[in-house]
């Protein structure tokens, strides 16, 4: 077992007869920003779903902080310290920013039902703590002035910020961000990039799926390139950017010769 915070070992995933992920292995080091790139359909989101327990593995194992998490339920994996966003903006649309963040807090999931009905002190205390942390999180992600706005009414970029806030709500050590810049305007991109950097400064490890190459190159420590569910290469941004196979997978073989 390596020293990485996340270790994916020989993972394969079949959907019926379709091989979506083919024997992929990699490790993410604690504290780094690790990006996964690849053309559409190469299996990036599937990997996220496998890691977070939303899909069962066909073969292979996944370890988080040395503990095997493949086979656990999503909520168990989340509690162990992995937070995520979803490719399609997934929020509690009818709720305000603050309410969304409250739901994600550790205190919210810890309060037992018996304590909710019959208890008094623990109930109030947890509620207070959750609300306070939600306020802090709202400020942290840059939505301090939007606290009472229903998620459905937020501009797209702000919604992405909120989903990142949700991913962080439980204070995870590893954060999986699935296309946090998807569909985001030019003026909103910097806000999100700053947020990602702030997250790293807090000591968290980030794994990023993103298509906007300029951002990926600037922000990542290492990049994993996928194609048709197979791992092509893992390396520093410059090396990946000049790798013939990677370019070919995006653009087709005729362009590879010109790299």
């Amino acid at each position: 077992m390596g020293g990485g915070i996340l270790e994916v070992k020989n993972v394969t995933k079949y959907f019926g007869g379709l091989k979506a992920i083919d024997g992929v292995s990699f490790e993410i080091t604690e504290g780094e920003i690790y990006s996964i790139i690849g053309p559409n359909g190469s299996g990036k989101t599937t990997l996220f779903n496998l890691i977070t327990g939303f899909l069962p593995l066909t073969e292979g194992e996944i370890f988080f902080k040395g503990k095997k998490i493949s086979g656990l339920k999503p909520y168990q994996i989340a509690r162990l310290g992995i937070g995520r966003t979803f490719q399609l903006t997934t929020l509690f649309m009818q709720h305000t920013v603050l309410e969304n963040l409250i739901i994600g807090q550790r205190q919210t999931r810890e309060l037992g039902i018996a304590a909710s009905i019959f208890g008094y002190r623990e109930r109030r205390q947890k509620e207070r703590e959750a609300k306070q942390r939600a306020h802090e999180m709202a400020e942290f992600i840059g939505l301090g002035s939007f606290k009472n706005v229903p998620a459905a009414l937020l501009p797209h970029g702000a919604q992405k910020q909120l989903s990142i806030g949700l991913a962080l709500a439980g204070d995870p050590e590893l954060v999986l961000l699935d296309e946090p810049l998807g569909g985001v305007d030019m003026d909103e991109i910097d806000a999100i990039i700053d947020l990602i950097k702030k997250i790293r400064e807090k000591g968290k490890t980030i794994c990023l799926i993103e298509h906007k190459m300029r951002v990926v190159m600037n922000v990542s420590d290492r990049i994993l390139a996928l194609s048709y569910g197979k791992k092509l290469i893992v390396d520093k941004p410059e090396a990946v950017a000049s790798n013939g196979e990677v370019i070919a997978s995006y653009l087709g073989d005729q362009y590879a010769a010109h790299s």
Binding site: P74, R79, G83, I102, I113, K131, H135
Partner: protein, 329 residues
């Protein structure tokens, strides 16, 4: 406060609540007509059932089409415990609720593992199955004939006021009112807490809730169990008050009526089911002259409501109020 959007301040709410309670308590002193008192008692029972369904439907987002069946289980359990085992109502009722909750728990476990479409279907089938058990188990449940001669609750001996008997409709009114308050209290405590927020999260998006570390299965099962327990409570009270039971009481017609009460009153709110459970039985009485057509009218009302006012009466009122508030800024 950070809770914008509250319509009234806390103090105002408390005052209104007190006034309401005084009014409700004094009704039997003012209205002496047995017929109306009876309707009020029945409304109370329907309120408890509607609130119980609203818990699992309006808050956890799961459509239980067998709520009426659990009502029936509670009714038969309490009734049988009183009749066949000679237990007093005060013992039979909690036991009946417990039994209903246990059955709810056992059936909840497999059915709540389903997602989306399957849960309502599974509960519908469950309801039909249990109905047939009740309707056919002649030895125990009296089959199609049902149970008769179930006693009212034993009198309670109060220190100053003497024995409080429940032969009169008036005193049953107070009894039901007590249980209604109890139910409201339990539900309010649950949904206003962080646990309530979890339930709403599950209703909103179960996958997202899971990704946030919420053990959705456990919350759903507990919520379902509480919901069936309360349905059983309503059933048990019904059994003793009416004195007789038929298999029809566990039929999915009952489930539909409870569903109607919730949807037309306003699903997902605390007052909604209460309003629905008061309004509809009254409407039902007024429409009695229609005979069988009454249920047809119900069906049409249901379809129209869900089409144009998906949040029921409460939703409609909120829209009216909300627009006014928006203008005030």
């Amino acid at each position: 406060m950070d809770e914008g959007g509250k319509v009234m301040g806390k103090k105002k709410k408390a005052i209104i609540l007190c006034i309401l309670i005084v009014i409700i308590l004094s009704i039997p002193q003012i209205v002496k007509d047995e017929y109306y008192l009876h309707i009020f008692v029945m409304s109370g029972i329907w309120i408890i059932s509607a609130l119980s369904l609203n818990l699992i439907l309006g808050y956890a987002g799961q459509l239980n089409l067998a709520q009426g069946t659990f009502f029936g289980i509670g009714a038969y359990a309490t009734g049988l415990l009183m009749q066949k085992m000679g237990l007093s109502f005060w013992v039979a009722l909690p036991l009946g609720c417990l039994l209903t909750a246990v059955i709810g728990f056992i059936t909840g476990l497999p059915t709540l593992r389903t997602r989306g479409h399957y849960f309502p279907i599974a509960t519908m089938c469950l309801g039909i199955a249990i109905y047939y058990v009740i309707a056919r188990w002649d030895d125990v449940t009296g089959g199609a004939r049902g149970l008769f001669g179930l006693p009212r609750p034993d009198p309670i001996n109060l220190p100053v006021l003497g024995a409080l008997s429940f032969e009169s409709t008036q005193n049953c009114y107070y009894l039901v009112f007590f249980f209604v308050c109890l139910t409201i209290l339990i539900i309010y405590r649950l949904i206003s807490s962080l646990s309530g927020k979890r339930l709403i999260a599950i209703r909103g998006n179960e996958d997202l809730a899971q990704a946030l570390g919420i053990n959705t299965m456990r919350d759903k099962v507990i919520c379902f169990t509480i919901s069936t327990l309360l349905a059983g409570l309503a059933g048990g009270i019904f059994a003793s008050y009416m004195g007789s039971l038929m298999a029809e009481n566990a039929h999915f017609v009952t489930s539909f009526e409870i569903l109607l009460n919730v949807m037309i009153g306003g699903v997902g709110t605390l007052i909604g089911p209460i309003i629905g459970a008061i309004f509809l039985p009254i409407l039902s009485e007024e429409l009695h002259f229609l005979g069988g057509w009454r249920l047809v009218v119900y069906g049409i009302i249901l379809i129209l409501t869900i089409r144009f006012l998906p949040f029921g009466i409460v939703g409609g009122v909120r829209i009216l109020l909300g627009e006014r508030f928006k203008k005030e800024g």
